[in-house]
């Protein structure tokens, strides 16, 4: 055998060994989410991850969003769940952590947790052991969509205060335009409607007092904020009681309505549905001139590691990567959502507005504080707000129902 032949054989052998070793030591991990519509984006993110971590392949699997919690809990109970699981935050996460299904994370195992603000970490932490269980992925902001084409044509400017809102609303109505597209036909969207318009009247102090039980929903400030919503009925579509989330979106996108109280999660969606539309996402009307117009905000969820995963090390590396600025930039600029990772550069002008609103935003009250027991604050508000808007209940009665319902599991409200 010549030297050349020998070296070729060694080289070939080495290559074969390399290929076998890669195959044998590469970890294939699975990621579960409810975001079927983000499949292409996540596959792009995961190939970027694999390019940096050639020994880990990530498989994207989307489950139906309506049955997602049930499927995830069933999968976890049967030991067949994915290695990395997309979770919601707050009470949703709480029930999975309480069952011992998720791996606690810290900066030793996931150093990128240092890239988040304390309130982002708190949203994805278990309230009993104060450990974080999911790497935060997005903040959602509730504010006011503005159809700029409609405003330009009507020669009006978007309102910044409650009084301006009514003046602009009257002017739009006189031109045959529906000022506000929202209706009361979709429960979860109704709760966001309440947050958008009540938020500036309630402010951060009320939210802080409510969270500790220093005050309750029986507080006259809450009733006063809710009663402002009754004034909006004049500016909503005819038969607004039956106008659902989809119809409200259509009215806004088609230009039949000028404004829509909604969430930043719809920015990308609305752009896709009407690419030529000129729109903006602004703060809700401030209580009066000079007041801060507080938008509302909540953390949508995060990326958690299955405590029973056989590939825990690979899963931890993935969620750590999903907390880096590199991922945050990709995430925000591809999916049009605000990443809570510090240092993310947001290039999109509307998202930039959203990020500004986040600086003074108040918590989306029930989602952040009152989804840890049954009945949740959301359930009670969603069931009663339609009654209030149709005049069958007073704002005070809504406050009493909410306080008494939440008091069944939230001790600080008991006896108040």
């Amino acid at each position: 055998m010549t030297i050349a032949k020998l070296s070729r054989a060694v080289l070939m052998g080495g290559m074969a060994w390399g290929m076998i070793a890669t195959a044998a030591f590469a970890a294939d991990i699975t990621f579960w989410t409810w975001r079927q519509e983000d499949k292409a984006a996540y596959e792009k993110f995961f190939s970027a991850f694999t390019a940096e971590n050639p020994d880990i392949n990530v498989k994207f699997e989307a489950l139906p969003d309506t049955t997602y919690p049930t499927m995830v809990s069933t999968g976890l109970a049967a030991g067949k769940a994915a290695d990395v699981i997309h979770t919601h935050a707050y009470g949703w996460l709480d029930q999975f952590v309480r069952s011992g299904y998720l791996e606690p994370l810290d900066e030793a195992t996931v150093p990128s947790l240092a890239n988040f603000t304390p309130d982002a970490i708190e949203a994805l932490s278990f309230r009993e052991d104060h450990k974080v269980y999911s790497v935060p992925f997005a903040t959602m902001t509730l504010g006011l969509f503005i159809n700029e084409d409609v405003f330009e044509k009507a020669g009006l400017t978007p309102p910044t205060t409650w009084e301006e809102f009514k003046t602009v609303g009257d002017a739009l109505k006189s031109k045959g335009i529906i000022p506000l597209a929202n209706g009361m036909g979709t429960s979860w969207f109704n709760e966001m409607f309440v947050s958008v318009f009540a938020g500036p009247f309630l402010g951060p102090e009320f939210a802080a007092e409510l969270s500790t039980g220093a005050t309750t929903y029986k507080d006259p400030r809450y009733a006063a904020a809710l009663s402002k919503l009754l004034e909006l009925r004049d500016y909503m579509p005819p038969n607004f009681a039956g106008v659902d989330y989809e119809t409200a979106g259509q009215l806004f996108l088609s230009g039949r309505a000028a404004m829509l109280a909604g969430g930043s999660f719809d920015i990308a969606n609305y752009r896709k549905l009407n690419p030529s539309l000129k729109m903006d996402f602004i703060a809700p009307p401030a209580a009066s001139a000079g007041d801060v117009p507080h938008a509302s905000k909540f953390y949508d969820g995060g990326y958690a590691v299955n405590a029973a995963s056989p590939n825990k090390e690979a899963a931890l590396r993935l969620v750590n990567w999903m907390g880096t600025t590199e991922f945050g930039n990709m995430f925000s600029n591809t999916l049009g959502n605000i990443s809570p990772i510090n240092g993310v550069e947001i290039t999109d002008p509307i998202l930039h507005h959203v990020a500004e609103l986040n600086k003074t935003a108040v918590p989306h009250l029930n989602v952040v504080y009152f989804r840890f027991g049954k009945p949740t604050g959301s359930e009670i508000l969603q069931a009663n707000i339609t009654k209030m808007m149709s005049g069958d209940m007073t704002p005070e009665q809504v406050g009493v129902e909410m306080t008494n319902g939440i008091a069944t599991w939230f001790a600080p409200f008991q006896g108040k």
Binding site: W92, R98, S99, T186, W188, N239, R371, K374, A383, G405
Partner: protein, 310 residues
């Protein structure tokens, strides 16, 4: 004799083995998909859930909560009341009208074959299609129903958005969807009545109303039993249409809430408002099962005895 004595048990056991063999697949399926879930629901209903896992054994605490402790109690009775309303509404609107349709079809009026198909056609549609279709027809702004009312200068309401009309609208869609089924069952019952009986009555001068109430109605008692019991079970398991046309929360303001929605929401949570509680959810499921089972048993006894009397 000896051979007979020996072969008989052998023959019997082979026969019973054969029967057991034939029954086994169905029995396995029943045990896995009916008996096992029922037993496990009963078992889970006695536990307080810590997150998604059963915690302490709490005897009847979950039952007590859903039956006697506010606000769960209020939701249970509200949903239960709606199930009762739906049952009686369907008995009158669906089965009552189906009886008249069946009688009209029995008379073989011109075009009866076409009408038979038209009446039965919606039954083959899935609930998803029916729910979506009626949601569009009843749309508060763009719906055909309100557009038609508009021609007469009437502004139609937000059918599914108003507490006064939401449940009625969904019941109406259900009637449209299912009316062909009782009509067909009752028609089959009517076709079993001897022609001579009907013709004799007619020769004696009996009108349609008399024939329908005095002759047809008593003679189709077995069909009425089936239709009534199925309507009862269907009304208390009513889920798809209210979910599709209203939502998981029984909107607006719980005015379309029924037990199946309340059970699902309690056990499996709702993405936008609730969390999962298998303990309380299982208690609701067990109560629903016991109620439907007991009432069906009693109703069958009563209706069967009525059939014999007639």
């Amino acid at each position: 004799m000896k051979a007979d004595w020996r072969s008989k048990p052998f023959h019997l056991s082979r026969r019973s083995l054969w029967i057991a063999f034939l029954l086994a697949p169905a029995a396995v399926i029943m045990m896995t998909f009916v008996v096992w879930p029922l037993v496990s629901a009963l078992q889970l209903s006695f536990f307080r859930f810590e997150g998604l896992k059963p915690g302490d054994f709490v005897w009847f605490e979950n039952f007590y909560k859903v039956l006697f402790q506010s606000p769960f109690r209020d939701a249970t009775y509200n949903a239960f009341w709606h199930n009762i309303v739906v049952f009686f509404a369907l008995m009158v609107l669906e089965n009552g009208v189906a009886l008249l349709i069946a009688y009209a079809l029995l008379k073989e009026l011109p075009g009866h074959r076409l009408h038979q198909v038209i009446v039965f056609l919606p039954v083959v549609l899935s609930a998803v299609i029916v729910g979506f279709l009626w949601k569009l027809l009843l749309h508060p702004l763009f719906g055909v129903v309100n557009a038609a009312l508009g021609l007469f200068g009437i502004m139609g309401p937000a059918w599914l958005g108003s507490e006064a009309t939401a449940l009625g609208s969904i019941v109406f869609a259900n009637v449209w969807h299912w009316i062909g089924f009782p009509a067909l069952v009752l028609l089959a019952g009517m076709q079993r009545i001897s022609r001579e009986v009907l013709e004799a009555a007619r020769l004696d001068g009996a009108g349609d109303w008399t024939i329908l109430t005095r002759i047809v109605w008593p003679l189709i008692a077995p069909s009425v039993t089936i239709v009534t019991v199925l309507t009862f079970i269907g009304s208390f398991n009513w889920f798809e249409l209210p979910l599709l046309m209203a939502d998981m929360e029984g909107s607006p303001g719980r005015s379309t809430d029924v037990l199946a929605l309340y059970f699902y929401r309690t056990a499996f949570g709702s993405v936008t408002s609730g969390i999962q509680d298998f303990g309380q959810g299982s208690a609701l499921a067990v109560l629903m099962f016991l109620f439907v089972g007991a009432v069906t048993f009693i109703a069958l006894k009563f209706l069967r005895s009525r059939e014999l009397e007639i």
